[in-house]
Structures are given as C-alpha cells and as structure tokens.
Amino acid sequence: MRWSWLIPRLIIVALIWSVFAFGLDPWLRYTAVESTQAITGAKADIGAVTTGLFPPTFNLGKVALASVSSPGTNLIEFDKMQFRLQGQSLLQKTFVVEEAELTGVRFGTIRNDDGQLEILSDPDPDPDPPTWLEEKLQNIGDEWLDQLAVDVREQLDPNTLKTWRTGQALSIKWEQKIETLQHESNSIKPKVDRLQQQLDAAKTMRSVQQVQEYLQLAGEGEQLLRQTNQIQQRIQRLVPEVQQDFLRLDQARRHDQEQVVQKIRQLKPNPSRITESLVGPQMYRQLNEVLAWMEFSSNYQKKLRKQTRVVRYRGEDVQFQLRNATPRFLCRRMKLSGELFLDRQLMPFHALLTGVSSDPVLLDQPMVFHLSTAGDKPLQLAIRHDATTDVPRTHVIAKFHQSQPQSLRAGKSAGAVLTARLADLKWSARLLLMGSNINGQIQLDSNLNRVEFTSATISPIMQNAITDVLQNSKTVDATIQITGNVQTPTVEIKSSLGERIATGLQPVFTNQAQQAKTLLSAKVAELAKEQKQRLSIKLNDRYQRLVADHKARLQQINGARQLLVSLQSGQASATTLFRQVSGNGILSSNKENQIHRQVEQSQKLLQGFVGEIFR
C-alpha cells in the first residue's frame, strides 16, 4: 500500500471535510452577522448556526438585531429562525427560501449594550424626526382654552369702543379750538386797552390835535373792530359745530351697541383648534409610526439588493439568460410568531410574510405581510408592497382596538386646563404610498369620559357651564387625511368633536355675553352722556367768558368807529362833533365847558354879523 501517497491526500480530504463540518457553520454565522449589520447599521447578535446540506437547511438561534435609532434596544429579537433553501436554485447560485419560520419574535427589547457599531457604514440620511410632525406638535395650541375667558372680556372691553375714542378725540379738539379763540381774543385786549389809553391821552390835547388824534384812533378802532368781528363770527359758528360733534358721538354710541350684538353672535371657539388640541398629538404620533413602517417596508428592497450584490470579483459580470429565472434572493413564505408590546401589554401575534425578494420585477409578485394579534381586541395589519411597476406602491391597512385608555390634557396650569380620557379606542388606517407620495387616512373612534375643566380666570359659574358642555360629548371621532410628499406631507385633522364643543360653548358665551351686553350698552350710553356733559360744561363756561370779553371789546371801540363814520361823511359840524365827542366821554368836563362857551360865543357873533348885514 502506498501510504505515502494516500495519507497526505486523506489528510487533505479530512481537512476539507472538517472545514465543512466545523468551519461552515461559524463562517456562515460570521457572514450572517456581517450582512445583517450592513443592512441594519447596528450590531447583530446571532447565537448558534447549524446547517444541513441535504436538503439545505439553516437554523439560527438567539438572534438580536440592535436598533440604530434607539441605542440600547433591539429592533427585533427572536429565539429561533429556521429556513429551508431550494436545492435546485442553490445550484444556480440563487437563494430561494421555500419556507422560513421565526419563533419567539419580540420587538424593542432591552439590550445589555448600546448595540451601535463603532464604525457606521452609511449614515442615515434623515435620522431626525420628520419636520412635519415637529411643526404640527409645535402648532398645536391650547389658546382656545384661554380664549374662552379672553374672548368675552376682550370683545366687551370699553377701550375698544368707538364711543370712547370719539369722545376723547372731541375733547382734545374742542380744548384746542377754545384755547385758540381765547388766545386770539386775548391778543386784541392789549390793543383795545392801548386805544383806550390813547383816547384818554387825547382829551388833554389841544383841539386841533385832538381831532387829528381822534381820526387816527378811529382808524385803528375800525381795524380792531374788524378783527373782533371775525372772532365773533367764529365764536358764533362754534355752537352748530358742537352740535354736529355731539351727533357724531351719538352715532358712535349706536355703532358700538350694534357691534356688541355682532360680536356676541360671532363668539365661538375655533372647532379645528379644539380638535387638534385634544386628539391631535395622539393621532399625529400614530400616523408617524405608520409612516415609519411604510418607509421601512418600501426601503427593505434597496438594502436587500445591496446585500445580495456580489462585490468580491473584479471585472465585469456578464449575465446570461436563465431558463427559470429567479431573483438572487427570494423568500416565498415566512411565518413569524412572537409577542408584541402593544397597548401597554405583551400580545402574542402571528404574521405571514410572502414574496420577499431582491428583484420583485423579475418575480412579478408583490410582497405581502399579514399580522394579527391574539385576544378579543386584536390588531390586524396588512401591508402590500408592489415593486413590480416603475413606481413602487405600498398599501397599508390596519385595524386596532386599544383597550387601554389614553389620557388627554390640554392647556397650561396657569390658565385653563382640560383633562379627559379616551377609552375603547378603535383605530383604522388606510394608506397608499406611491413612490414618494402618500395618500390616505387614519381614523379614530373612541369614547370620551372623565372630562374636567378648570380655570383660574373664568368664573365658577362659567366653568361649570363649560364643563357641562364638554361632558355632553361622549364620543370622539377623528380622521387624519394625509396627502403629498412623505417627507413633508399635508396633514389635516377633522373631527366632529371640535364642532360639537364649539357649538355647545356658544350658548354659554352668548348667555354670558348677553349679560355683559346689557351692562355694556348701558356703559356705552353712560359714556356718551358723560362725554357730552363734560364737553358742554367745559365749552359753555369758556364760551360765555369769550363772548363777554368780546362784547366789552366791541363796546370800547364802537365810539371811535362812530366818530370816524361821521368825519368820513363830512356831516360833522363843530357842534355835532362836540356833541359826539362829549357824548362819548372822550373829552374831560372842563374841556367840554370851555368848548361849549366858545361855540356859544361863535354862534352869537355869527348871529350879530348876519343881523348887521341884513339891516
């Protein structure tokens, strides 16, 4: 026997066998770990791997795939995975899993480490929460609650009344006007006084000088008289103008009273804000989760194709036509069973996944996922991802009955706070993702109970009234409509809850506002009356003083005016002049007697002369 030839070859064969026997499983385990880590981007812990060659079967035990987005938790964990490969396809270098089974599946379990890889392969292009969710949650405002108190007060605030504003404006206007007239009138007074002084001084002058002075003073007096008349005319025009302004004030009062009625009719909280405030956060978050699952299922294919792509060889792979072409990777049927943490409890579930492949176009079948939980209120989920067309489509239909109640809270402690509880929630979702566009809706039907409303600023009577209205809404039905791009979708929430609450609150406001309206109408009338009285008193008093001052001025300068008129007409004789002057008190009494004697002497002389002529 040629042992020296045989033994080495037997050793080699033994080595090859031992590689398959003892090395294949570890190598496959290593490959599985690396591939899975490349897909998920986080650590993959795989326990034992056992294989069988005839037929080709794989058994994986204790698999835990860490989550990239949640360090310290597992994306999925299962106790055992068993699948059988189709032999014929394996010979063609395609991996076709006829049937696979995962048991003991759990999601979101806790890890001992953070589960993150030291070197990340491809960074997640969008690891942050979607902005639409952030925007929606930021825009959810509870101002409608505080507005319950502010609305009534604000609408009925006297400072907003036109009556008040008009009265204020009129007061300022008339103050200024009277002030101006008074100032002008006062400015004439020194001139009149000076005229009087000059007249007094003229009395001591000689006759001819007196007359000259009087003529001059008459001219000045005429001018002053014109100025005074102008002022007088303006004063006379004050009264009708004041009457007009009082009419304006009345109009403002009527306007305000009408507006109060209008505003009371419009007092109604915004129904959409109520809906968004109460059920918005739950619904938006639920939608966000569904969208995340949809995006994951539509992206699985890219990652799967990336993993099944052969990258080792250099050069170019030339593809030839296969008689029975199948995708490089295909899982015809996979059964999953395990537990889901849902509704704050672990629920057993069963799921079936079919048509998972790296090339759906070649397979010409969509991927379908059905999941249902056990219990009397199960979750039913169906996802159909069809990538056989140019634009992949993902349909999601889900129904879920949540028995655990959800607490609602709206408002801030400093203002108004509304708390309630949603019980017996029924969710249903129907969504379609086409490429990057999404369309669909999520609906919620629920009971509403334990409604409580408290406020530090609203009166207890009104609080009770509002609470009664809120408690009358025993059910909640809300729908979220989502359209547009999946990254920046248009999300609209609709519900009859908001409308019911708003409609129910309106009579409460109206009732409160009616009381306030009566008060306000009286207040408006009183305000108008007060404004008028204040104006009247102020104007009247000053008006009378103005008129009196003016009258005195007029009287003072009338004498000089009369003198001027006589001198201008040429009708003034010495006697007439003397009479006018003495009658006006312009001359002193001595001067008057002196002139009187001279006039008499002149007259006697004239009479004698005339007699002599005619003897």
Partner: protein, 170 residues
C-alpha cells in the same frame, strides 16, 4: 508525539517529494494557473483540488500560487480584456448560456471577465511554463535539494534522525 510528527513529516515529505524536474515544472505551471484565478469561487477550489490530486511538486506549486495571487491584480486589465471578449463573442453566447444554466456552473463565476480571462491565461501559460522551466529544474533542482537538506529543521521533519535510530534498532 509520534502521532503529531508523523503526519507533519509525511506532509513535508509530500511537499519535498515528487521532485523530478517534470513534476517540478508541472507544479509550477499548475501553481501559476491556480494563482492567477481569483479566489472565492468554485473554479479556484476545483483547480486547487486538481492540483492536490495530481502528482506534482506541492512546494513549488504552493510557492507559485502565493506569488501569482499577489501579482494577479496587476494583470486584471489583460484578464478582463480576454474574458470580456470571450464572454461577449456572439458565436459563443449559446454555449455560455447553456453552461450558465447548468447546475453549479454559476458558482464557478465563469461569467466574470477576470475569472474567465485569468483561467484562459493560466491554461495558455501552462505549456510554455512547463517547457521553459523544466530545463531549469533539471539543472538546479539537485543542488537546491542539497542546500535545503543542510538545515536541521528539514532533517528533523524528514525524520532522518529518528529513521536512522529506528533503523538501527531493527
């Protein structure tokens, strides 16, 4: 101790055996062939098995494999050209399609241009390498063998000492 040393000695002997010039040159040629073909496919494994099963000098073959594996990436452009031309040649398309549909054939990665090109290049080089290297081995193998045997390790592995002792006991 004998259980460990004996197989090792036999392996070393196998490496050092088949030391006829023809076997040495054939080992070199086969080693170049295996070394040129990219690893990680069934073709490389098959060629390795063929090499292991043949009566050629394993030492020379192993050395050739190592050297050519390191140098093969430098020859990729030539291999790619040859392989791509062959794979896309119209008259061979039917043959390649038939071959591709055969079981296990896809595992050989013959449809890769570098793999096929390297295989073809290695096969083509086999005869010239064998013919050209044989006279060199004839001339230098004896002196090389004497040089190797100077080392204690070689002698120990070859079991000369123990064989002499066992022989002397018998």
């Amino acid at each position: 101790m004998f259980l460990f040393l004996k197989p090792l000695r036999l392996c070393m002997k196998a490496l050092a055996a088949q030391s006829a010039p023809g076997q040495l040159s054939m080992g070199l040629a086969l080693g170049i062939l295996v070394g040129l073909v990219p690893k990680g496919n069934l073709l490389a494994i098959a060629l390795g098995m063929v090499l292991a099963a043949s009566r050629v000098n394993m030492g020379v073959a192993a050395a050739a494999i190592v050297c050519c594996s390191l140098a093969s990436p430098l020859l990729d452009p030539i291999s790619h050209f040859i392989g791509s031309w062959l794979l896309k040649y119209p008259r061979l398309t039917e043959f390649w399609t038939w071959l591709y549909n055969q079981p296990i054939a896809p595992w050989t990665a013959f449809n890769n241009s570098v793999v096929l090109g390297s295989l073809i290049a290695g096969l083509v080089l086999m005869y010239p390498v064998h013919q050209l290297s044989r006279p060199l081995f004839e001339k230098y193998s004896a002196s090389a063998g004497r040089w190797v045997k100077r080392f204690w390790l070689t002698r120990a592995l070859m079991g000369a000492e123990w064989a002499t002792r066992v022989g002397s006991i018998e």
